[in-house]
């Protein structure tokens, strides 16, 4: 099938405009982190008056970025690992068994995705505070509470994507393992999991990204000690000064791990979505 001249030009124009739209903020983020403060306090300039790495040094002092980073890392990685572990078992049950309530479970879990966050933010906030007063388990303003909250955010989509992956693994493999005397859990660990590694890695990255990027609960459920990057990064705007160059430098540092992780695994996301979408 040949591409007509008109089509070729349409393609070039559309793709160029989209590229411009996507690149502009990325360029601002990357270039402004290399600017001295006075560059970002005056009219915008396309290029730094001189290139400096000072913002990448100063940003750790202006706000306690190190602490926010550690908090975010702990919360996001534990949420990701636990959520994926739980999703694996759930997805295995849904993919390999027919049981009463299977449909109900799938629909309920997916529909929690639709709740407005604000609806359960207030009750959850009060539940955490009251549970803390009653039992002494600190859930409000703690990394533990935030981790538990976040892992449920990625759970529905993780289960959905893993069911898609597991379904694409032929049942013949399960049956062969069972003939060899493997029970269901050994089948899961020795047959299904090794085959589904790309899917599991993609889902882990997704769960990490979800926790890493959440703002609403982070802004209500944390205090100075448990604050994560999502809230902490807004600290570069102080009452007296806005350190845009440091804010941009910090944004670059904070974005790089998730962007690289996502882009490296993009084709597995596409595969997971395809598996899910054809159903």
């Amino acid at each position: 099938m040949r591409e007509s001249t008109g089509e070729r030009w349409a393609r070039r124009i559309v793709l160029s405009l989209l590229t411009l739209f996507v690149v502009a903020p990325l360029y601002v983020m990357l270039s402004s982190g290399l600017k001295p403060l006075r560059d970002v306090q005056g009219p915008f300039t396309w290029l730094p008056s001189r290139v400096t790495f000072q913002p990448f040094v100063d940003m750790w002092q202006t706000v306690p970025l190190g602490r926010y980073l550690v908090n975010s890392l702990l919360v996001a990685s534990s949420a990701a690992v636990v959520s994926v572990a739980i999703a694996i078992f759930a997805a295995f049950a849904i993919s390999r068994y027919r049981f009463r309530g299977r449909q109900l479970f799938s629909v309920t879990v997916l529909s929690t995705q639709m709740f407005p966050g604000i609806l359960f933010l207030l009750p959850l906030f009060l539940i955490y505070v009251n549970l803390g007063n009653a039992t002494g388990i600190e859930l409000y303003a703690s990394r533990l509470g935030l981790t538990i909250t976040y892992l449920t955010f990625s759970l529905p989509f993780s289960i959905w994507m893993l069911v898609g992956y597991f379904d694409s693994i032929p049942r013949g493999l399960d049956e062969a393992a069972q003939v060899d005397g493997a029970g269901p859990l050994r089948t899961l660990f020795q047959v299904i999991l090794p085959t589904a590694v790309p899917g599991i890695v993609a889902v882990t990255v997704y769960a990490f990204m979800t926790a890493w990027g959440e703002v609403l609960f982070a802004s209500v459920m944390t205090d100075e000690h448990s604050r994560t990057l999502a809230v902490g990064l807004q600290g570069y705007a102080t009452q007296y000064n806005v350190y845009w160059n440091q804010a941009m430098a910090a944004s670059v540092v904070v974005s790089i791990p998730v962007v690289i992780g996502f882009l490296a695994l993009q084709r597995y996301f596409v595969a997971g979505l395809t598996a899910g979408a054809v159903k």
Binding site: A24, V28, F120
Partner: protein
């Protein structure tokens, strides 16, 4: 959406004959029949504890007079019946009027954001179907906004929209589109809605692109070849092959985008720093403000419940209509 592709008819839980003597097989059947439930327990408990129970508590709270006087010990809050709902839906009062205004802003915002995101995503997916030099690079680049943490993306846009130091006014001035001596404000006043919409589209269109790209991979190339032989041009191919083949993807994609955008809190919260200007007062921000600024959690909960009911109705109607259309097609 939630059904899986089970090969063959539903099978009873036990394994066929080669499993050994009947007594052993029976024990296995019993154990297996609750194994799936055991596997689901952790996920179910978490969903119950963090989503379902708080949601029910939220419904309960919406029936209480839960103001700042009762927040320490909310068992003392008096039962208010539907009073909070009466206030919510009293569109003659200031509270109700503001809520209704916020609802319309959100509806317009959602329609435009989902519409633009879908169109950009479709354009990119269609134009990247054909192999050419640099295609993989563009695909990666287009997905980057989706991968960025929301707050870093929005903080960057906040900087770009600054009146005196931002890229937007500078670029518009260089193009001669605005008066450089008196540049417009973007984050307050009339323009704030446009600014919010641009950021929202920037952030969500890559997701549409990702899904549509995945959907296009399922289109057999023979279909395009057949329609090319028929002499179909670009638009006819789009209308007769691409869009019908994308229907199942679109059904889910548009619903998900709608729900995310309607509930969007992060974008306005970071862009405007907590409180949104009236022109861009999205419903999540509005409810958040009504609850945490005035400490009236009962009223805030009533508004949230109303929002949930609205979303439920829209979703149910949407699924009914699209499923019926799919069956008739």
């Amino acid at each position: 959406m939630a059904t899986t592709t089970a090969p063959g008819p539903v099978r009873p839980a036990g394994r066929p004959a080669q499993d050994g003597p009947p007594s052993r097989r029976k024990r296995r059947t019993v154990r297996r029949s609750y194994l799936p439930y055991l596997l689901l327990v952790p996920a179910a408990l978490l969903e119950l504890g963090i989503h379902v129970v708080p949601m029910l508590v939220g419904v309960w709270m919406s029936l209480l007079e839960l103001t700042q006087f009762h927040i320490r010990d909310w068992s003392t809050a008096p039962f208010a019946g539907f009073e909070n709902y009466r206030v919510t839906f009293d569109f003659d009062s200031a509270t109700g009027k503001d809520l209704l205004h916020s609802f319309w802003v959100t509806a317009l915002y959602t329609t435009l954001s989902v519409g633009f995101s879908w169109m950009l995503g479709l354009a990119a997916a269609v134009f990247l179907q054909r192999p050419f030099k640099g295609r993989a690079l563009l695909r990666t680049l287009f997905l980057t906004p989706y991968a960025l943490p929301v707050y870093t993306a929005v903080i960057t846009w906040t900087f770009m929209f600054q009146r005196d130091t931002g890229l937007v006014n500078h670029a518009l001035d260089q193009l001669g589109l605005i008066d450089g001596a008196n540049p417009p404000f973007w984050l307050i006043g009339e323009n704030s809605f446009v600014a919010l919409l641009i950021v929202s589209v920037w952030k969500s269109w890559p997701f549409a692109f990702l899904c549509l790209m995945a959907g296009l991979q399922n289109v057999p190339p023979e279909l395009y070849e057949a329609s090319a032989i028929d002499g179909a041009n670009f638009w006819r191919r789009l209308r007769d092959v691409t869009l019908p083949m994308l229907r199942p993807v679109n059904q889910v994609l548009l619903l998900v985008l709608f729900l995310w955008t309607f509930n969007d809190f992060n974008t306005p919260y970071v862009l405007f720093g907590g409180s949104a200007p009236r022109q861009a007062d999205l419903i999540s921000i509005h409810i958040y403000q009504s609850s945490f600024v005035t400490w009236n959690f009962g009223l805030g909960s009533a508004m949230s419940v109303a929002l949930l009911l609205f979303l439920l109705v829209v979703t149910a109607v949407y699924l009914l209509v699209t499923n019926r259309r799919r069956e008739h097609a």
